[in-house]
């Protein structure tokens, strides 16, 4: 893996939903390039036929019984809302219009 380019850093930041000042972007480009260089060691490991490990303990996904369980009262659930209207959270408009 060659060093990351400015364009790489910009694209990754876009995907990661981060806005980077130019100096910070350059710092990240240098640091991430060094980290990825260290990670190049992975490529040398023979993993032919080795299954990927997704979970450290063998277990099946279990579903609980489909019965109503206690949950937060509406007032409690809404207590941390930045803005509320009646029993709803109010968030910024995403399709135009007003929040």
């Amino acid at each position: 893996m060659a060093d990351l380019t400015d364009k790489d850093v910009h694209e990754i930041a876009q995907l990661a939903m981060l806005s980077l000042e130019p100096a910070h972007a350059e710092q990240l480009r240098v640091e991430l390039s060094a980290i990825l260089e260290a990670m190049a060691a992975l490529a040398a490991v023979d993993t032919e036929g080795v299954p990927p490990m997704t979970h450290a303990m063998p277990m099946d996904l279990r579903l609980r019984d489909d019965v109503v369980a206690p949950s937060l009262p509406v007032e409690v659930a809404l207590s941390a809302a930045a803005t509320r209207a009646d029993d709803c959270f109010v968030v910024p408009a995403i399709l135009g219009g007003e929040a």
Partner: protein
């Protein structure tokens, strides 16, 4: 240093239960120590004085009425600030969650309260658990009580420092790649990372979900055994929690014998890069156990050298996914400039809320999960994770547990580690345990000639925490640091 604050958690609870001390006396004793020493250590993000005093008064009233109290009666416990606490601000040491007051308790917090423990406060850590020195906290660094110009380790550095300085009786931390064991080593306390799934993570602010575990930091192995016993067990709210019986770890510690115990020494953990003073302490520990009848077998964990890049790749990928929820709308502090689009709100909120190391790991993880790179990085790392697990499976056919240094160095000076890679190398001995899902214990094994604690790490088979605790107790009896506790500029320890 025989004051009530330095007694074991087990003894404190016994005294409160039988009336030898009140919960109020215990809480006031810790609050007085916090007043005296917290300005030097800075282990806490929040001390819940009112809540702790009210809980203590309630317990004392219950005892006065003749009620039988729980196994942690009146014991003041600290929590790493990634554990959610009802009515008590929880920040993960991040600006992103500043001011958030949760509406519920994590399962482990519920279980502590059910055992009559008192929640004394929330302790400092690296932001979202990402770091090895507690320097990545958005609030302030924590200082090592043994030498305040040094780090306490991380990411559960506030927890380890508070336990070592007797600013709480014990603490719960979290360990994704060593974040309980490494600070325990650097602060001279006991730190236990349970088997993956042994302890419910409901109410833990997630960092890397295939690796995170909650566990105790304590001043004795017996205290760790009791805390594990009380927080472990299946929880229907955490689908990854293991549905297996929880042993009576504390009771079963008694009578632990080590003669004939087969202990593996992986040669990859005793190669270059270990500080000679750390190596000397581990060698003394091995000699003491050999004298007590333990049998040592040298073995190999051949994929050790790639565990570090494997870990940082997987943990960062999971972090980039877990932390995508903090967008200023669904979760986290919102930054909304005039005329901003929704995407602007997301980006501005995340850029303002996350600190440098968190942004670095999100960027790294996003890179690894990107289309076209997934197979070469993320999937490759998952395959190597399988090989690392197989290394341990093979090792455990030759021995019951594995012994290594917990960290390659003792605590380093604040500000001394200047590059991310240099910092990551400090986790080199702890993170394979998380990748393989194993239990790991760090026990104090003496001091360096400079007076800094060194920890020895024990790794065991899944769900065999008791084996680790038994050998840990044997180490505690033979290799305890002297002096046992930091003086903090007061009386000799």
């Amino acid at each position: 240093m025989s004051d009530i604050c330095h007694l074991s958690l087990v003894e404190q609870a016994r005294r409160v239960s039988v009336g030898g001390a009140t919960a109020t006396e215990l809480v006031e004793a810790y609050l007085a120590r916090i007043d005296a020493h917290e300005p030097k250590v800075r282990a806490y993000l929040l001390v819940d004085r009112d809540g702790a005093r009210a809980a203590a008064q309630d317990l004392d009233a219950r005892r006065a009425r003749g009620e039988k109290l729980g196994p942690l009666a009146g014991v003041p416990i600290g929590l790493k600030d990634v554990l959610v606490t009802k009515g008590l601000a929880t920040t993960a040491a991040s600006r992103m969650l500043a001011g958030w007051v949760p509406t519920y308790d994590a399962t482990v917090v519920e279980r502590l309260r059910a055992a009559d423990a008192i929640i004394l406060g929330k302790q400092n850590c690296d932001e979202f658990g990402m770091g090895s020195s507690t320097e990545n906290s958005s609030a302030h660094p924590t200082h090592n009580p043994w030498q305040p110009e040094r780090v306490p380790g991380g990411s559960s550095g506030g927890s380890a420092a508070a336990v070592a300085a007797a600013l709480c009786s014990a603490s719960l931390g979290t360990d994704t790649g060593g974040s309980i064991r490494q600070p325990a080593s650097m602060c001279g306390v006991v730190g236990l990372k349970p088997t993956y799934g042994r302890v419910s993570r409901w109410g833990l602010i997630a960092y890397a979900s295939s690796l995170d575990q909650i566990g105790p930091l304590t001043r004795s192995v017996e205290d760790a055994a009791l805390l594990l016993e009380l927080i472990a067990g299946h929880d229907p709210r955490d689908s990854t929690s293991v549905d297996a019986p929880v042993p009576k770890y504390r009771a079963k510690l008694a009578g632990g014998v080590i003669a004939g115990t087969k202990i593996g020494l992986p040669r990859e953990y005793f190669a270059d890069g270990i500080d000679p003073a750390v190596r000397a302490a581990i060698d003394r520990c091995v000699a003491a156990l050999r004298d007590a009848g333990a049998k040592f077998v040298e073995l190999s964990l051949p994929h050790t050298k790639v565990a570090l890049p494997t870990y940082y790749l997987l943990a960062s990928a999971e972090a980039s996914s877990n932390l995508s929820r903090y967008d200023g709308i669904r979760y986290g502090a919102r930054v909304e400039k005039p005329g901003a689009t929704l995407a602007d709100v997301y980006r501005d909120s995340r850029s303002a809320g996350f600190g440098p190391e968190v942004q670095r790991r999100i960027m790294l993880g996003t890179f690894a999960l990107r289309a076209g790179y997934y197979d070469a990085y993320y999937r490759k790392a998952q395959q190597i994770r399988t090989l690392i697990k197989r290394d341990f499976d093979a090792a455990f056919t030759q021995c019951e547990l594995v012994l290594t240094p917990t960290a390659p160095t003792a605590a380093f000076p604040i500000g001394a580690t200047t590059t991310p890679l240099q910092m990551y190398l400090g986790d080199v001995f702890t993170l394979a345990c998380n990748l393989a899902g194993l239990p790991g214990l760090s026990v104090p094994a003496g001091l360096t000639p400079d007076g800094l604690p060194v920890g020895v790490q024990l790794l065991g088979r899944p769900l065999e925490e008791l084996t680790l605790l038994k050998l840990g107790r044997a180490i505690e009896e033979r290799c305890a640091p002297s002096p046992r506790w930091p003086s903090l500029g007061e009386e000799a320890a």
